[in-house]
């Protein structure tokens, strides 16, 4: 996207989009929460606790969406050398990690009334835990490398390596799970899904997605400003050094 490659243009566009996005997100959440609590019926088997699905499932989707975004951004950094690609990747990591954590915690809270324990090593939760670890690795790497060019490239490489491994990890975890839990089919989604549940789920998913985009734009903006600050601080040092000569 050549027009968005210019940071100033991006800041401009982000500044105009963010207020609208915020309003739209809030509205969608309001509608979604209403549907989740007052319209969707309780599940035949799980009762009211099925309502946790309306935060757990969107969070899980966004956890994966976040990493997909990072994977694409990593390609942008390494192959197309898009100037904002590493900003996008860096900004997305904490957001994706937070949604992964939300998915894990809400999954755990959903599991306790259903299975009696706060954690179960089923395929979905285990894969989500590994995804969380991959996010943590990315964040740790961003923190550890000071030089921004190297940090961007290193994080892009790690992001791509992780992205390539995720299907393999998912496959191996699923396989491992069938090896050890042949009997009970522990499914957080439940076997049947009512259409009004589907509507609530869709609205909440939309609300969460908009929230991700909103937070991501704001985080990208902050990162671009941070780099400007650093550049200007460097200039300040250079100007002071020149003045002394």
């Amino acid at each position: 996207m050549p027009s968005l490659a210019n940071p100033t243009r991006f800041l401009d566009l982000a500044g105009r989009l963010i207020p609208w996005l915020a309003a739209l997100t809030a509205t969608l959440f309001a509608v979604g929460l209403y549907l989740s609590f007052f319209v969707a019926p309780p599940d035949y088997q799980q009762g009211e606790t099925v309502r946790i699905m309306f935060v757990h499932v969107p969070a899980a989707w966004l956890a994966m969406f976040g990493y997909a975004l990072i994977a694409v951004a990593s390609l942008g950094t390494l192959i197309w050398r898009h100037p904002l690609a590493d900003v996008a990747a860096k900004a997305a990591a904490p957001i994706g990690a937070t949604f992964t954590l939300i998915a894990l915690v809400t999954g755990s809270l959903w599991g306790k009334p259903m299975w009696g324990t706060y954690w179960v090593w089923d395929a979905r939760l285990t894969s989500m835990l590994v995804l969380f670890l991959l996010y943590l690795g990315l964040i740790a790497l961003w923190q550890a490398i000071e030089e921004p060019g190297r940090a961007g490239r290193a994080a892009a490489i790690l992001g791509l390596v992780g992205a390539i491994n995720i299907p393999i990890i998912k496959f191996s975890v699923d396989w491992w799970n069938t090896l050890h839990q042949p009997a009970s089919i522990v499914r957080l989604g439940g076997p049947t899904i009512d259409s009004s549940m589907l509507t609530a789920l869709a609205v909440m998913a939309g609300a969460f997605t908009l929230l991700f985009v909103l937070l991501h734009l704001m985080a990208m903006r902050a990162e671009i400003l941070r780099r400007r600050v650093l550049a200007m601080q460097q200039m300040q040092v250079e100007q002071a050094a020149l003045a002394e000569t």
């Binding site: 690795g137 550890a144 190297r150 490489i157 992780g162 390539i164 491994n165 393999i168 990890i169 396989w175």
Partner: protein
């Protein structure tokens, strides 16, 4: 070809000469396997059941401990700059260094495993396939560790960071490695499907990981 072999010979010789590196990895392997029963209790039945998993996990940790030396020494004394601009393509250099790590760390750890299995009441008939599975899986361990080593070149706390970055990527190795060894002794499932998947994962790592490691080295050298 001779340049590649020369590099391999040099790296292996350096690792062996440094002695401490291999010995430390093997020693760490022993320590982890030795203290686990102190935490879990001496019940031999329990230990026998967890032996394969524990041996694999401890192997991964021990291999990771020595991973940052894959590029570190050459990075510190400038040899890596020479290698990066030399006749050998950097991915090949990375592959050779990963291979050297496998030969001097992965293989010894795999060969030591049956002996440590004795501490965990691992049935003797499990050992051959365990070693086979470990020999098939440790290439992936070394080659992926090289990615971690190249990403964390010159960083503080690089050892810990390297482990954090790389351990999630070992999940398939662990799952298939343990499953292959378990199926070989316990049946009814055949050990070959997980074993072949382990081999496939190792082969894919051998081919792809050096590309990532080389790119990271280049990023670090700029």
């Amino acid at each position: 070809m001779s340049a590649a072999l020369a590099l391999l010979a040099r790296d292996v010789r350096l690792a062996l000469r440094e002695g401490g590196a291999i010995g430390t990895a093997l020693g760490f392997y022993l320590v982890v396997v030795a203290i686990a029963p102190l935490g879990l209790g001496p019940d031999l039945n329990l230990l026998a059941r967890i032996a394969l998993g524990l041996l694999w996990v401890a192997l991964l940790l021990a291999a990771l401990l020595s991973a940052d030396r894959i590029f570190h020494n050459d990075y510190e004394d400038g040899a890596l700059d020479v290698l990066a601009t030399g006749a050998l393509p950097l991915p090949l250099v990375a592959a050779i260094k990963s291979l050297a790590h496998w030969l001097t760390t992965g293989v010894p750890l795999a060969l030591l495993a049956p002996l440590l299995g004795l501490l965990l009441n691992l049935p003797a008939e499990a050992s051959p396939f365990l070693v086979l599975a470990m020999l098939a899986g440790t290439p992936a361990v070394s080659f992926i560790a090289a990615i971690g080593a190249s990403l964390t070149l010159g960083l503080r706390r690089s050892g810990l960071l390297l482990a954090l970055l790389v351990l999630p990527l070992y999940v398939p190795v662990l799952i298939f490695g343990v499953a292959a060894a378990t199926a070989a002794i316990a049946g009814p499932a055949s050990p070959w499907p997980p074993f072949l998947m382990l081999c496939g994962f190792s082969l894919a790592s051998i081919v792809l990981a050096p590309l990532a490691a080389a790119a990271s080295v280049r990023a670090a050298l700029r």
